[in-house]
């Protein structure tokens, strides 16, 4: 168990500064003249105690992170439970346009939820927005959630009203609820789902588990090693999270997909598995053109630069979401990597104060995508 502890010195014979030189591998959080706060295992704290230091256990790390997560949630980031509650509120507030659907269950039994938004069932075309395949990418929950919220709350206003009278928008903000909760409570930088692998490690990368060109690469960015962050899984669609998306897409036959991730401020289009461009010139021109349009719309809000590029230009990925949606169904498919641009700006840990501006700049891009698909001739 990892604990947070306050360490004090009993006297000059055991100076606090020596704790920093002890090769115990403790994680020092705060250093003050008269105490230190650190994260350590029980064994490490026992060792410090035997060395003569006074050790006061404050709380275990899970409790601390949970408290932090609660504070963050209050400031804007959802947990799986609070997301479900808010999506349910939206559906109950406007049952005429919104319906909450459980599209599957995660490894640990959490519901994977999608909000169907449209004022008539079976309206076409349908568009899918997803978020949080990767657990640590918290902003990638908030942007699709805020899209869903705005679409429901402004369902009677143009142009949303006209879109919803002819088509449907589906939003699944948290495809990986187990991983997200693990990131909130245990390991902030957790990426994968919570599958227990055969070798005892945990996690399959949901964004490498889709069935188009699944597993054809074996690289650091698309790995067959279970302990690696980009582990593709034992087979295509081995994970309930990707099965849920697969079954939803197969049932609803969407006209286009955007899946949100963070970070780097990129607008990615297929392919990820190869450097070769998509062979169909019309599809390629459409996706590149839309990506450039979205870039301009995003920049027009807060001057943020999101770069459009083929997904493989970031790094090679086999079995990702948009290779599958485009490769299997031929529909325009984008991965949008949200704020920030660099690790120096926070990387995966984006201040909650940036949720709203991140949504604001992505709103016109999402709306343009909807408008394009709803207005396009069907077939």
């Amino acid at each position: 168990m990892n604990l947070i502890a306050r360490i004090t010195s009993p006297g000059p014979q055991s100076p606090l500064s020596e704790v920093l030189r002890v090769p115990l591998g403790v994680d020092v959080w705060e250093v003050k003249p008269d105490y230190m706060i650190l994260r350590a295992t029980e064994a490490q704290l026992e060792r410090l105690s035997r060395m003569g230091y006074q050790v006061e256990q404050l709380e275990d790390v899970a409790q601390h992170l949970s408290a932090f997560a609660t504070a963050d949630a209050a400031a804007g980031y959802h947990s799986a439970a609070s997301l479900e509650e808010e999506l349910r509120h939206l559906a109950e507030a406007r049952p005429d346009v919104a319906e909450l659907r459980e599209i599957g269950r995660s490894i640990e039994g959490r519901p994977i939820l999608a909000l169907r938004i449209g004022d008539r069932h079976g309206g076409v075309p349908k568009i899918l927005f997803m978020g949080c395949h990767h657990a640590r990418e918290w902003i990638a929950v908030e942007v699709p959630f805020l899209l869903a919220k705005e679409m429901v709350e402004r369902a009677d206003e143009p142009p949303i009203a006209s879109w919803l009278s002819s088509g449907e928008v589906w939003v699944a903000p948290m495809v990986n609820p187990d991983g997200h909760e693990h990131s909130r409570v245990e390991q902030r930088l957790w990426r994968k789902n919570r599958r227990r692998n055969q070798d005892g490690t945990f996690g399959v990368d949901p964004n490498r588990n889709y069935g188009y060109m699944w597993g054809i690469l074996n690289l650091p960015t698309s790995s067959h090693v279970p302990s690696d962050e980009t582990y593709v899984g034992p087979r295509a669609f081995s994970e309930p999270e990707t099965q849920a998306v697969r079954d939803l897409v197969a049932c609803e036959l969407f006209a286009g997909v955007i899946t949100y991730h963070s970070y780097s401020q990129l607008i990615l289009y297929p392919w990820g598995y190869t450097d070769r461009p998509v062979p169909d010139a019309r599809d390629r021109e459409l996706m590149v053109g839309l990506a450039i349009e979205m870039q301009g719309l995003i920049r027009g809000v807060h001057s943020s630069v999101y770069t459009p590029q083929q997904s493989s230009e970031l790094y090679p990925t086999a079995g990702d979401t948009t290779d599958w949606t485009y490769g299997t169904y031929g529909i325009p498919s984008f991965t949008i990597e949200l704020r920030p641009r660099t690790v120096q700006e926070g990387g995966f840990i984006l201040p909650a104060s940036q949720i709203q501006p991140t949504w604001e700049e992505n709103r016109p891009a999402a709306f343009r995508f909807i408008e394009h698909l709803i207005s396009a001739p069907i077939g």
Partner: protein, 87 residues
């Protein structure tokens, strides 16, 4: 097996002379790639991987800090009273 307590480092990896960033992506070692710049990768790696990268001169390695340090710094900056704020 990556244990929860294993120290991981956030590193900037630059290609050695004659190699490219693309070559770094094909290194047969576990790299948790966070960011791709024109001339480098930002990745999280274990101490073991770091030692291999350095020993075999597979990349020029700049240690930016442990992931724990990164989390602590970033979460401190991300607290509601942060001055980062809106752009």
């Amino acid at each position: 097996m990556a244990a929860q307590d294993e120290v991981r480092w956030v590193v900037r990896l630059s290609p050695p002379p004659g190699r490219t960033v693309r070559d770094l992506l094909e290194i047969p070692l576990p790299l948790d790639v966070w960011q791709r710049d024109a001339d480098a990768l930002i990745a999280a790696v274990t101490e073991l991987t770091l030692n291999e990268l350095e020993r075999r001169r597979l990349a020029d390695v700049e240690r930016l800090g442990t992931t724990a340090e990164y989390e602590e710094r970033a979460e401190r900056a991300a607290r509601p009273n942060d001055r980062d704020g809106e752009r």
